[in-house]
Amino acid sequence: MPVPGHVGSDYERLRPDFRVIRDPYAADKRVMLVPAIRPDVALVHAHLADTAGTLLLEEREDDALLAQASRVVIASAERIVPTDLIRRAPTGITLEGLHVTAVVEVPRGAHPTAVRGVYDIDERHLRAYMAAARDNATFKTYLDRYVFGPRAHDEYLDAVSRP
C-alpha cells in the first residue's frame, strides 16, 4: 500500500521490502509502497466482550485494525457482559465477533499498563521492570517471579500486589 513521505529516508536502505515506484497517478513523482502486515496471531485486550466475541476496544488504539489483519485473534477482556452493554457503550470501538477466534475474561488483564477509566498504569511496577531490565541477572529474577512463576492470572496479580 502507498504511504506518504518516507522516500529518501534510510527506510529505503534498511527495508528492501519497502519499494519506491513512479507514482502511477503523477508521473513526475515517486511514492513508497509498503507491504501489508499479516500477523499469524493477535492478542488484544478489550474493555468489554460478549460470548460471541464482540469486543469494546480502546478508542485511542488500533486493536480493531490489528485484529482484522491477523489470522488468529485471541481477545482478553476486563468483563464478559451481555451484548447490549457493548452496543450501548458511549465510547470505544466495537469489533464484531466474526474477526475474533477466542475470548477470555481476564480482569486487570492489561496490567502493568492501563485500561482507561478502569485502572491506571502501575507506575511502581513499571519502574521495577525498568530497573530489572538493566541486566540479564536481575531480568531473569523478574521473569521468574512474574512470568514463569505464576501458574495463572490470579497468581500473577497476587505476585505484583506484593512490594
Binding site: 513521505g5 529516508s9 507514482d23 511514492v31 478508542e59 485511542r60 488500533d62 465510547t91
Partner: protein
C-alpha cells in the same frame, strides 16, 4: 522554550502536538489562550483537544491529507541538515544505541506544512554533523511529494531556523544569557553565527503568568506530573 514555541503558532492555523511533548503542548496552549484563539488545536491525550475516536489511524489519516499547518517532532540525533534519527546509531543490526523507532515521523515531516523540531537538551551528541540513520530527512528532491518540512528547531539554548536555500539549520537567536561560545561547544557541528548575535526576546510577565496559570491547569489534563513539577508556582 514553551514561550518561543508559542510565538510560532499563528491564529487560524491547524496545530497538532503528538506524544511525549509537554513543552510543545504548553507552548501551543499558551498561544491558543492568547494570540491564537481561532487556531484549531490537537494535543494527544488531552480530553479537550483530542477528538479522534477511531484509533491512531484516524489521526494519521487526517495528517496524511496535509491538514496540519504546524506539528512538532524530535529525534535521538538531529543534524545540521534537519535530518532526524529515531532508529539506531552504529551498524543497524548491531547498534550501539537503539531509539524507539520513527513511528509516523517520516510522514508527518513531509505532510505537516511547518515542523518545529524540539529537544529538551542541547548537546554535541544530539546536534550532530550527520545522523547515524535517517528516519526523516530534512529535505527532499523535487520528485517527492512534500508540501511540508522543517521550520525551526527550538532548544534550551537557542532557536534555529531551517534555511531552505542551503538546507541547513542556522541560528536565529540565542536565549538570554547564552553566549556564542557556549552554544558552539554544546553543538556538534560548526555554527555560522551572526554578529551581533540576536537574543530571543525574553518572556513577558503576561506570558509567564498565563503559562503558570491557565496553561498549567489545562496542561495537567494531559501531563499532570509535568504541569505540577515544572509550572506550579514555587
Amino acid at each position: 522554550m514553551a514561550i518561543a514555541i508559542s510565538r510560532e503558532v499563528r491564529d487560524g492555523e491547524t496545530v497538532a502536538v503528538g506524544t511525549l511533548a509537554p513543552v510543545p503542548a504548553a507552548g501551543v496552549l499558551l498561544a491558543h489562550l492568547s494570540h491564537a484563539p481561532r487556531a484549531r488545536v490537537f494535543i494527544f491525550n488531552h480530553e479537550d483537544y483530542w477528538p479522534f475516536r477511531q484509533g491512531s489511524k484516524e489521526f494519521y489519516d487526517y495528517a496524511q491529507r496535509g491538514n496540519f499547518d504546524l506539528f512538532f517532532l524530535s529525534g535521538g540525533q538531529i543534524d545540521r541538515h534537519g535530518n532526524l534519527n529515531l532508529i539506531t546509531i552504529g551498524d543497524h543490526d548491531h547498534p550501539t544505541l537503539r531509539f524507539p523507532g520513527g513511528a509516523g515521523s517520516a510522514m508527518l515531516y513531509y505532510m505537516a506544512r511547518r515542523v518545529i523540531i524540539f529537544r529538551m537538551d542541547h548537546a554535541p551528541r544530539i546536534f550532530v554533523e550527520r545522523v547515524g540513520t535517517i528516519a526523516s530527512p530534512g529535505s527532499s528532491p523535487p520528485d517527492v511529494v512534500r508540501p511540508g518540512g522543517p521550520w525551526k528547531a527550538i532548544t534550551p539554548l537557542c532557536v534555529f531556523r531551517f534555511d531552505a536555500a542551503t538546507r541547513t539549520l542556522v541560528v536565529e537567536s540565542v536565549h538570554p544569557g547564552i553566549t556564542a561560545d557556549v552554544l558552539q561547544r554544546r553543538t556538534g557541528f560548526p555554527l555560522d553565527l551572526p554578529t551581533p548575535l540576536p537574543v530571543t526576546p525574553p518572556p513577558t510577565a503576561a506570558e509567564l503568568s498565563l503559562l503558570r496559570g491557565r496553561v498549567r491547569e489545562s496542561l495537567a489534563k494531559a501531563y499532570p506530573r509535568f504541569a505540577e513539577a515544572v509550572l506550579a508556582s514555587r
